[in-house]
């Protein structure tokens, strides 16, 4: 009786479908806008908070010209993943209301709406939403829809419809062993034992040694084992349960079931093997607590009353010790240890639902974390608490940054003020027009020099001075008497003049080209200066306006930040209280269950004493 009652309970839990599908082998996303890729960088790290923030910024800055259509749908999915169901619902409803959106957008919006209802536990609402998904759809959407729809149908006990749906999806490339598992469970629930078993058996035959596959194999073997147990096929049941890894997270349940399989076949000696192994494990697990009673029960069945009495006594002691542990845990949680532990752990980077708890069970407050985390309510409470812890850190970080903004702004203002007079001077007394006129005059002059082939026009300062000296010497020589010596001097003067003139004449074109180059460079610099002055004029206006804009924006954000920090502090306190209360309630319930086990063990102990005495009396009478 004991086994059968608990067996049915465990069976119901074990024959539950898997709700979360694991994404696999997705091709890399094609990114056409950098900022969309930036959002994906956070999204692929399951950092939903920063994905949402950066997608919002990219949209506001209009930097998603190529991904604008999908951005809204993406935003809806992100906020849903981050637990903002109300906002997600609003977005998807808006997408549905927009007639411009095509069927594929509508389908995905309905699918997300169904997920929101499913997460809220509103299965009827979820079924209603998912019924709107229709027509041709992407393979991934079709599989996701079929999965959620089948889960909802199974929830309502409409297993035959779930089977049909899953069967129709089977051929898609996104079909995974998880869906196959759910199909197997749906078949068993629908009374199609043989077909269901076939589906589950095919999962157990997968050769991959990955952690994910191993876990799924264990799950399938466990479901098979309990299913065979229900149909009285104890040999098959034991065989399946013995395939579950001994060190895996499902091994306790498998050991308990394997014992039942043998006990159902009246092979108590064999049942003792897994039950004894199980009873030596951590008694915090209900399966281990169950085995503490199952071992002496089997011994009683084998008429080993003395050993059974001893075991019952040990079990009662172990269960009492467990109650003490539970009390210690409750005291530690009341003392705030659980919350402190959660706070000390990295609050993650805002990765919402997929935040993983990786707590080491070395503290009384954490001893029962595994059984606590089995509850959806507790999981949600922890996620919310950790999300709040992340938000609190985020606000603290901004609070210190924003304090520096005032200094930065002040420093920019100071720099601006120091440079303003020079800038204003340049703007008021712009030297560029005068320089440009000078440039034009030089251009004209050069043009004339070239047109008239004015070779001396390109002489440099030194050459001009030398030519002047030689002209002056020529005049002086003309006034002197015509003697051989004077003639000699005339000759020298003409020679020197000729050398300079020849040099000028020879270099005329080259000098002309060089000067043109220089004028062209001056022209380029003038244009550049013109642009700089133009920007300066623009910057002058912009900066004046921007300072006052920044000041008011910083002030507004500071006030908002202050308000949000207060709200977050209040919420984190309330959520902490709730989390503690949930944990304490659960541990209290576990204590009550142990109390019942203890009563049961004491009663069985008394019964065993009676049986022992009767047995001895019988032997004496014989």
């Amino acid at each position: 009786m004991l086994q059968l009652g608990c067996k049915a309970l465990l069976l119901a839990a074990l024959l539950a479908p898997i709700a979360d599908l694991v994404a696999r082998g997705e091709p890399a996303t094609s990114v056409k806008d950098l900022q969309y890729g930036e959002m994906l960088f956070y999204y692929f790290q399951q950092d939903y908070f920063n994905s949402i923030v950066h997608l919002g910024i990219a949209r506001e800055q209009q930097r998603l010209p190529n991904h604008a259509d999908e951005a809204e749908l993406m935003m809806g999915g992100l906020v849903l993943s981050y637990g903002m169901r109300n906002k997600a619902r609003e977005i998807f409803q808006r997408l549905l209301d927009d007639e411009k959106n095509d069927l594929s957008v509508h389908n995905r919006a309905w699918l997300y709406l169904a997920k929101i209802s499913y997460q809220r536990g509103d299965f009827a609402g979820a079924l209603d939403a998912i019924a709107h998904v229709e027509g041709e759809m992407m393979p991934a959407t079709r599989t996701a829809t079929a999965n959620l729809h089948s889960l909802l149908l199974m929830q309502k006990g409409r297993n035959a419809e779930a089977i049909e749906l899953l069967e129709n999806t089977r051929s898609g490339k996104h079909w995974t062993p998880y869906l196959k598992y759910n199909l197997g469970i749906a078949r068993i629930r629908n009374g199609e034992q043989e077909n269901g078993v076939q589906e589950l058996v095919s999962i157990t035959k997968q050769s991959s040694r990955s952690a994910e596959t191993s876990m799924l194999r264990d799950k399938a073997n466990l479901a098979l084992g309990y299913s065979f147990l229900q149909t009285g096929e104890t040999g098959k049941s034991r065989q399946a349960l013995e395939q579950v890894r001994l060190e895996g997270p499902l091994s306790n349940k498998a050991l308990l079931g394997a014992g039942w399989a043998s006990a159902d076949a009246d092979d108590y000696s064999r049942a003792l093997v897994p039950w004894t192994e199980l009873s030596a494990r951590d008694p915090a697990d209900p399966a281990v607590q169950e085995s503490l009673l199952a071992v002496p029960y089997a011994l009683t069945k084998m008429n080993l009353f003395g050993r059974a009495i001893q075991k019952y006594k040990q079990s009662i002691e172990a269960l009492n010790d467990e109650k003490i542990n539970l009390d210690k845990s409750i005291v530690a949680i009341r003392d705030g240890q659980l919350l402190r532990y959660l706070q000390e752990y990295d609050a993650g980077s805002g990765d919402g639902w997929l935040q993983k708890l990786n707590l080491a069970a070395d503290s009384p407050a954490l001893r029962y974390q595994l059984s606590l985390m089995a509850s959806h309510d507790f999981q949600e409470a922890v996620k919310n608490y950790r999300d709040l812890a992340f938000l609190e850190k985020n606000l603290t970080k901004w609070n210190s940054s924003i304090a520096a903004y005032d200094d930065m702004l002040a420093s920019r203002q100071t720099r601006y003020q120091s440079q303003l007079p020079a800038a204003t001077h340049v703007l008021k007394n712009n030297p560029l027009p005068a320089l440009q006129q000078q440039h034009a005059r030089l251009q004209d002059s050069l043009g004339q020099t070239e047109a008239t082939s004015n070779i001396k026009g390109l002489a440099n300062h030194n050459e001009k001075r030398q030519l002047q000296i030689l002209s002056s010497i020529e005049k002086q020589l003309a006034e002197l008497p015509d003697t051989p010596k004077t003639q000699e001097l005339h000759k020298k003067q003409r020679l020197l003049y000729g050398v300079i003139y020849w040099q000028l004449s020879n270099e005329f074109k080259a000098r002309l080209w060089k000067i043109r180059q220089q004028l062209s460079e001056v022209e380029r610099l003038a244009r550049q200066t013109d642009k700089v002055i133009g920007r300066l004029a623009q910057a002058d206006l912009d900066t004046t306006n921007r300072f006052s804009g920044f000041e008011s924006r910083i002030a507004a954000q500071k006030s908002l930040l202050k308000n949000l920090r207060k709200r977050t502090d209040k919420a984190i306190y309330a959520q902490g209280e709730l989390l503690q209360q949930l944990a304490i309630n659960e541990l209290g319930a576990q204590k009550k269950r142990i109390d019942i086990y203890i009563v049961q063990a004491r009663f069985a102990l008394a019964q065993t004493y009676d049986s022992s005495l009767n047995n001895a009396a019988g032997r004496v009478q014989q």
Binding site: T29, L34, L561, T568, I596
Partner: protein
């Protein structure tokens, strides 16, 4: 005797089952949880909006669009190169030296684009050099550089560094390009 034992169990079992089936929330805590959940959703929405405003404010204040330059990193397949770090130099001055986590590399493989650096540059020509360090084909240490000269004018400029698989040489290629 056996029958008596089972009868006792039959009395106890329903209580056990009831305890096991029952959730550990009561009506009050469910109401509190629902109310709090609404407030947390609202807080998330407001803090997301605040972050968006503050990031934009920060960008405008620290990196005005006239001088803004942002450098992004992406991967095109990237099977021939296991990225460890990227060193970024602008005009021969190191502006970033980023070490990647496994999760970040995985996100890049899946199509994510990382904003590696954001800073200010004056108008004119600037040389951007990126040095990629990691493991190349056959697990060998690999260090390669890529460079680009950009002509910074008015308006924000975006530069993308990409690690590409060269299928013909079975080696990684590294490119730098400027987005218009």
């Amino acid at each position: 005797m056996e029958k008596k034992y089972y009868l006792q169990l039959q009395v106890i079992l329903p209580a056990v089952l009831m305890l096991l089936f029952s959730t550990f929330t009561n009506a009050d805590s469910t109401d509190t949880a629902a109310g709090l959940d609404e407030e947390i959703q609202s807080l998330k929405q407001d803090i997301v909006a605040l972050n968006r405003s503050l990031f934009m404010l920060e960008e405008e204040l620290l990196f005005p669009s006239n001088t803004q330059v942002a450098v992004f990193l992406s991967m095109d397949v990237g099977e021939f190169f296991a990225l460890d770090s990227v060193q970024l130099k602008i005009d021969n001055k190191e502006v970033s030296n980023y070490l990647y986590t496994r999760r970040e590399v995985e996100a890049l493989h899946r199509g994510g684009v990382q904003r590696l650096y954001m800073g200010n540059l004056k108008s004119g020509e600037h040389e951007i050099v990126a040095i990629f360090t990691g493991k190349g084909p056959n697990g060998r240490d690999y260090r390669r550089g890529a460079e680009l000269v950009i002509n910074k004018s008015l308006g924000a400029r975006f530069v993308e560094l990409t690690i590409i698989d060269n299928e013909s040489s079975e080696q990684p290629d590294f490119s730098v390009r400027e987005w218009e």
